[in-house]
């Protein structure tokens, strides 16, 4: 029963560099602590070559001009840890979350799926690097051996069965995660390596230091084994990004959003899922300028800083990060945050990937993803509320409908009865046009609207409609169908209009024209 261990070296630094890949080739240091007593807690090799050390103050580190300093970000570490879990779950369903920087996997039964243990180790490395994390991977029949070797050795390490002790013998006992007291005892005894610890008699060791010593002896011998404490797969995908300097331009913001979307899509695709909706929260910088006025409805009253929320809902789940970025950009262009952005929090809702298959004999229809992008572009021009498919409301009130989001998934083949006669069309005036009507008796004889005086040639009506009398916005009107002749127009016009008299408002309106 082989086990694999994944270890992330310098996890604090990697969590930050994961979202900024360009920092890989620059000296970078991570600081932590209450201001102004910031201390360096992590740094890369380039920074070490410059002379940066652990515990150095921020002021001392800033003396190195090339160095980039970042604050420690726990949300980003959490996101990196979850990304690592997603990579592990894409390999094996049996995963133990041993530490924020260490995962243990059970590789039983994966040989037929992924190949040999070397291939599994390389695949794990590849999956992790797709997520922007450099890891060490060790494979062994003993889970503790794998865990220790992943921390000690870089790259993929595969231990043949029965040779665990040989790989462990040169490692220091400090790698065994022992208590400080036991470490002092072993140091006094002169036991510095796993080999020397494994050569001690077990009985004497247990008498001196107890069961912990026995456990460490077994581990150092390559025999200590235990079952995994499995972690339930979670379907929570979120990414964080904290900006050192607030961003107020859409272009660099789009760049950052693209990276986060790419990370989310990679993580979700590794779990054989797709994104159905994306929610993005921007933490804005509070501005005292009169020009920067974030919309009040997006204010979060609980937090001290204003938060601007933006959400995307897709009709069909997708993992195309380029499409998601375009949709997000269009949304931000139409409704910008209104203030510089300090922090980005992105949450993706997963769903099963689309499995529908098109038919050979069905009429061509727009590609759902492309249609979504087209609708978003049109909405950026005319407004989001003016694009969609109309849905009639269950009421007798004239011109009652609502706009709903157009979805290709809701289009189904419909067998319409062929109309025996051609129905006439009607064009609605929105809002209705105010009209002046001259009556003879009770029948309209002259109608004037939009500066056009007209004579009524034929009249049909009135037909009274009313409704919602129990509501505040009830209506009651007398409707006429009139054939009106406009002799003063050039050329003279004649048309069929629907004119209504609002009984409550005592006004005449032209509702529309038959065309």
């Amino acid at each position: 029963m082989p086990f694999a261990a994944i270890f992330v070296p310098n996890f604090t630094l990697q969590a930050i560099v994961r979202c900024e890949p360009e920092l890989h080739v620059q000296p970078i240091a991570v600081i932590e602590g209450p201001p102004p007593t910031y201390r360096i807690i992590a740094f890369n090799r380039l920074a070490e070559k410059l002379g940066v050390t652990r515990g150095m103050t921020k002021a001392n580190a800033e003396q190195f001009q090339e160095i980039r300093i970042r604050h420690r970000s726990e949300p980003q570490e959490e996101a990196a840890h979850r990304a690592l879990l997603d990579a592990a779950w894409s390999i094996s369903a049996l995963v133990e979350d041993a530490a924020p920087d260490t995962l243990l996997l059970d590789l039983s039964g994966l040989t037929r799926l992924f190949g040999t243990q070397e291939e599994i180790a390389r695949r794990t490395l590849a999956r992790s690097s797709e997520l922007g994390i450099d890891v060490h991977v060790a494979v062994s029949a003993n889970v503790e051996t794998a865990r220790i070797l992943a921390r000690a050795l870089s790259g993929p390490t595969v231990v043949p069965e029965g040779q665990e002790s040989r790989y462990l013998e040169t490692l220091p006992v400090g790698m065994l995660s022992l208590s400080q007291e036991l470490a002092d005892i072993l140091e006094r005894w002169g036991v510095t390596t796993c080999k020397s610890l494994a050569s001690l008699p077990v009985l004497s060791l247990s008498e001196r230091v107890g069961q912990e010593g026995v456990r460490l002896h077994a581990i150092a011998s390559g025999k200590g084994n235990r079952p995994l404490l499995l972690t339930e797969p979670a379907h929570h995908f979120e990414e964080w990004f904290e900006l050192e300097d607030p961003v107020d331009n859409l272009e660099p913001l789009s760049f950052l959003l693209g990276r986060l979307l790419q990370q989310l899509c990679t993580r979700i695709a590794a779990r054989v899922l797709a994104i159905r909706a994306v929610n993005v929260d921007f933490q804005l910088q509070r501005s005292f300028e009169s020009t920067a006025q974030p919309a009040r409805e997006f204010f979060n009253a609980k937090s001290s800083l204003p938060i601007y929320s933006c959400s995307l809902k897709l009709p069909i789940p997708t993992v195309d990060h380029a499409l998601l970025l375009k949709l997000l950009r269009l949304r931000l262009q139409s409704k910008p945050p209104g203030a510089p952005v300090r922090k980005i929090h992105m949450v993706a809702e997963p769903d099963r990937a689309r499995t529908t298959q098109g038919g050979l004999f069905l009429p061509a229809s727009p590609d759902p993803q492309r249609l979504e992008l087209t609708i978003a572009r049109v909405a950026a021009v005319v407004g989001e509320s003016n694009v969609g498919s109309p849905q009639l409301l269950d009421t007798h009130r004239p011109d009652s409908y609502q706009m709903r989001k157009f979805s290709i998934a809701s289009v189904t083949a419909s067998i319409q009865e062929q109309q025996a006669e051609t129905r006439s069309g009607f064009r609605v005036f929105r809002p209705p046009l105010l009209a002046r009507v001259q009556l003879l008796g009770k029948c309209p004889t002259r109608v004037s609207f939009q500066g056009m005086p007209g004579k009524v040639v034929h009249a049909s009506g009135p037909w009274r409609t009313s409704g919602d009398w129990w509501e505040d916005n009830s209506w009651q009107e007398d409707v006429w169908d009139l054939e009106i002749h406009f002799p003063s127009e050039s050329p003279p016009l004649q048309g069929f209009y629907r004119v209504s008299y609002d009984v409550r408002g005592e006004r005449w309106y032209v509702r529309g024209v038959y065309d």
Binding site: A364, D399, Y401, S460
Partner: protein, 390 residues
């Protein structure tokens, strides 16, 4: 004389001079005419082109054809004249000796013969893969679909796919009815349609009663003409729609006239080679030659029916009058499908109808149903229809 017809019968290249030309190319390029007829043909081609240029009716799109023909005619004339210069005495061995050319050939004719030789080389290189690469592309007639009004489909052949169709007319001429009918037909065929409503005047209630499936209709409500044009452009570039209709009927005609012609050309080019029907409704014709089908709608007689009520009412008119609908006339101003479909002309001639481009059909606004007040007269008499209720 149809110069295009004569040009087609004349080979575009003289392949007989090329020893490397394939047999098929040689066979196809053999001139069926004699030498004098070749000269006459070439001269007539050049004369024809000069006449067209003088008349100012240059055929758009055929400039390349004319350029090729001119070059070929000039080259052939040059070759024939050169051959004449070449004829010489036959020596004792039966070999011809070329006479020296008394006067050098003009530079233009030399260049034309070189271009003809180059064309010949290209054709021979592509002979196995492309037949006649310099021949104009054969444009297939567009596929048409029914509009839902049989009389109109018979006159026009249907709405063409991949083309711009323009429908114009004054208010109450029946444009919106035609649009609704077309939308109903397309949505019944499970196609997704889009309506760019420039002045937000679409009535979803009437549309649904006319048979339009609102779930398959993407409605874009614009506030001005610029939004409408941009939305239409985005939809056409997105692709996949069975029909995209742009309703400019309520937009003031003076604003629609200001749309430049290249905008219409751009819309036409975008929808070309796709299966999308682009329908434009307006008060006047604006697309000009960019439209493959242009219909002018005109309102004719209206139908008002009388329904006497059993019990007179003090509040309502007695007799009550209903607006049943009206007859509309649609005139086919331009139809590319009819122009290319030769047998259509023969059919129209045999039917004996003097005006085949004018068609009338009825539009009904109220369905003929039983009145809720138990009206005994279900169908009004014809003479009563014209009676003014007063």
């Amino acid at each position: 004389m149809d110069y295009c017809e004569s040009a087609r019968s004349f080979p575009l290249s003289s392949a007989s001079d090329n020893p490397n030309a394939s047999p098929a190319l040689l066979e196809s390029s053999k001139c069926p005419c004699s030498e004098s007829e070749s000269i006459q043909h070439s001269r007539s081609i050049l004369e024809g082109e000069r006449k067209l240029k003088r008349a100012g009716n240059g055929v758009v799109g055929n400039h390349k054809v004319w350029a090729n023909l001119r070059a070929l005619a000039t080259a052939i004339l040059t070759d024939l004249e050169f051959d004449k210069h070449k004829e010489g005495r036959q020596n004792v061995y039966g070999e011809h000796k070329a006479k020296s050319i008394r006067s050098p050939l003009p530079r233009q004719t030399v260049m034309h013969s070189k271009s003809a030789a180059l064309r010949l080389q290209v054709e021979s290189a592509l002979a196995g893969r492309i037949v006649s690469p310099f021949r104009p592309l054969q444009i297939e007639p567009p596929c048409t679909v029914p509009s839902g009004i049989p009389a109109l489909d018979e006159a026009t052949g249907g709405l063409p796919r991949g083309c711009l169709t323009e429908i114009y007319g004054p208010p109450s001429s029946g444009k919106t009815s035609l649009l609704q009918s077309a939308l109903a037909t397309r949505t019944a065929n499970s196609e997704v349609c889009a309506l760019v409503d420039a002045q937000d005047s679409f009535d979803p209630w009437r549309a649904q009663s006319a048979g339009v499936s609102l779930r398959q209709l993407l409605w874009i409500r614009c506030k001005n003409l610029d939004h409408a044009l941009r939305s239409a452009d985005l939809l056409l570039h997105g692709g996949g729609f069975g029909m995209v209709a742009m309703d400019l009927s309520d937009t003031p005609a003076r604003l629609v006239r200001q749309i430049p012609l290249n905008a219409w050309f751009r819309l036409r080019r975008t929808v070309e080679n796709t299966s999308t029907i682009l329908l434009v409704l307006a008060r006047e014709s604006n697309a000009k030659t960019c439209a493959s089908l242009v219909l002018r709608m005109e309102k004719e007689a209206a139908a008002w029916s009388l329904r006497e009520r059993a019990t007179p009412s003090h509040r309502l008119h007695t007799p009550a009058c209903l607006f049943d609908g009206w007859t509309t006339a649609a005139e086919v101003i331009r139809s590319d499908a009819r122009r290319k479909n030769l047998h259509f002309f023969h059919q129209s001639a045999t039917q004996g109808n003097a005006r085949t481009d004018l068609v009338r059909f009825e539009l009904r606004s109220n369905p003929l149903r039983g009145d809720s007040l138990n009206d005994t007269r279900s169908l009004p008499l014809r003479r009563e229809r014209t009676k003014d209720p007063g």
